[in-house]
Symmetry: C2
Subunit: 393 residues, 2 copies
């Protein structure tokens, strides 16, 4: 069972537990029910594509976390988490996607059995994997407990990365570089987009040397021409065209850690509006990166970018970045800080962001981005592909 064992040191998991328990203490919580797969994995090492059925980690102030999930997935927990086997609990299969009962009935039994019947228990109200119905059932089954919102409590503990985590992210970044260079190299008029994606996946999963590629939390996105106005289109079987730009939004992934990178390729001679927008984005990235240092605020990056974009006469309303690290689908962001004018979070050394000033206009788009590590001085840039528009004549 060694192959799949938890990827970090005992000290690293102890650090994470201590941070989380301190936050629980501040929030006055006796326990938390963690349903976000990224938080589950960060706390316990658990890894598997099992989050389409209900699963959770129950964490109190004493002892080990308890992994809880579908009975068949306990075999996966035994192979991936750092806790003792008796701190992994499976629920019966008849609860799965049933129309007559709900897995949260079983979790309530576990919560009571572990001494939290009358406790203040935090739940992640705003998470894909904690449904409206799950909350309704858990609330009904725990009438003596107080279920309180602990959305992103664990996510906030993840913002500053340890050296072990940064090591993983640098490996992910090397894979990102390989993927972007593959995409730029292969792109040419007449190539079907799905064939290009096949090569992208091949590079992404092969990885770099011994550092094998994991699946990223978001699939490659690469809309072309007018469709590049839409940031989240994936691909189809159409061919790349002369006279069109295509952006590549991808991330390499090393053991669930990400380092997203976007670059744009133009086949042929770019029109002036794309050349001008590219210059503005490069200036904006430089201005934002200049502000991306410990002690400054998230909004300082956004405002520095925004000033440049506005002076260039462009309109851009979206946030321009988010924290990154360990993630499961459907999002590789950490859902805490947003790089936007209203977010005054103070930046700390070791925080990691995807600085993402994508431009999506009415009938064209452009993406050039950087994944960065906050430092006292200039940030570390994780990826190494030159920061430019790639023109292929």
């Amino acid at each position: 069972m060694e192959n799949f064992r938890a990827p970090f040191s005992t000290q690293e998991y102890a650090r994470r537990l201590a941070k989380t328990r301190s936050a629980m203490d501040t929030a006055g919580l006796d326990a938390i029910v963690v349903t976000d797969p990224s938080n589950i994995s960060w706390l316990t090492g658990y890894d598997g594509w099992s989050f389409y059925t209900h699963q959770a980690v129950l964490l109190g102030h004493e002892g080990e976390p308890v992994w809880w999930g579908r009975s068949m997935d306990r075999n996966g927990a035994l192979r991936t988490v750092w806790m003792r086997d008796d701190n992994t609990v499976g629920y019966a299969d008849h609860f799965v996607q049933s129309t007559t009962c709900h897995p949260m009935e079983d979790l309530a039994v576990q919560i009571i059995a572990r001494g939290f019947e009358t406790a203040r228990v935090g739940v992640e109200m705003e998470n894909y994997y904690y449904t409206a119905r799950a909350h309704q059932v858990l609330t009904a089954q725990l009438p003596k407990a107080a279920l309180v919102d602990a959305t992103a409590l664990v996510n906030w503990q993840r913002t500053v990365k340890s050296d072990e985590e940064l090591g993983f992210m640098r490996k992910a970044a090397a894979i990102s570089d390989k993927v972007i260079l593959t995409a730029i190299d292969r792109a040419e008029p007449g190539l079907r987009k799905n064939e290009l994606v096949a090569d992208i996946y091949s590079a992404m999963i092969t990885g770099v040397g011994d550092d094998w590629g994991d699946y990223p939390a978001i699939v490659p996105m690469l809309p072309s021409g007018s469709d590049a106005a839409a940031p989240h289109l994936t691909w189809n079987g159409e061919t790349l065209q002369e006279g069109e730009g295509t952006f590549f939004e991808i991330s390499g992934c090393y053991r669930r850690y990400h380092a997203p990178q976007c670059r744009t390729v133009f086949l042929g001679t770019p029109p002036d509006h794309i050349i001008d927008a590219n210059a503005a984005i490069l200036d904006g990235l430089a201005a934002g990166i200049e502000k991306a240092r410990a002690g400054n605020r998230a909004c300082d990056i956004a405002n520095a970018l925004g000033d440049v974009i506005e002076k260039a006469g462009l309109t851009r309303a979206a946030r321009c970045g988010y924290p990154i690290g360990l993630s499961y689908p459907p999002d590789w962001g950490e859902r805490t800080i947003s790089l936007r004018p209203s977010d005054e979070t103070v930046l700390e050394e070791g925080m990691t962001f995807h600085f993402m000033p994508g431009l999506w206009m009415d009938n064209w788009g452009l993406e050039t981005t950087e994944s960065i590590v906050i430092r006292d001085g200039a940030p570390e840039e994780l990826c190494k592909v030159p920061r430019q528009l790639f023109v292929k004549d």
Copy 2:
């Protein structure tokens, strides 16, 4: 904008709307808020990796559905849905993953503006993309409406496939065959699993002829040896070993439609317990398929399999299948019927299932499965790879 337009005929979308409105009528609903990305796509054609932020379709009894999502994703809606442009609505970016406001505040405004302030409105309480917090906010913002549970109301309308849909699923199945044959062909001692997955993805996305490959809703799973006891482990950088079995659980995907297929490869001479289990599973599949016909019930398939498995002395507690078709991550099942002894749903012609009697024991596993279409007589088997254990000496 033609490349990404909705993939089905006008008549097909009209059929879907009519079925759904009839179910709404039966449930006494004036409108439904559809948050499941698969349901959104099935009703409107919408496609994009944007479901990590809140989005929905609002459907009443009159007029077109209304697509609602993040403002930047409206450009994607304009390129993929069949409705008029003014039936696509974007919400401001400051709602996205905010700690101070919630997108459901905006959706409530839309619901009121469309005349449903005092209506009975169905919501999908048990869906990944309708969080506990989303329901809390929507309920608070619509004090005069009645929000009632309409979980899986749309999903149930999807169970019987149209001929257009079956055409897509046959294309997906041809891709599944290609992927499984690639995996069997490439598997050999010493090959790193991630390199095998790179080839799997390459085959999956290249597709078959003009039928380009889309991303499946679940990534490939291929645990080996003792780890095959855990059904949902993905992969790592270890090598395949002589004397170990590996199962491949994959699906080709054609424009979001799936046809999953699992086969097991053994490198070397399989031990008796795997040979015996394989024989039992093949007999069980045949017995279940014999019962898989219109007029029988879901439980008839499960019981036919169960009898064979029990006689072989094996223990198997999990459901043995689920409906398949259009899907987005994290699940390629439709979350309505389950093939299990307690499910008495009557099978209808055109229903599609992944008949999935995987065996996950303490320290080994085996998967051989079939995707089938229910008919009056024998079911159509979508995939063509021989139903057997593949032994490579």
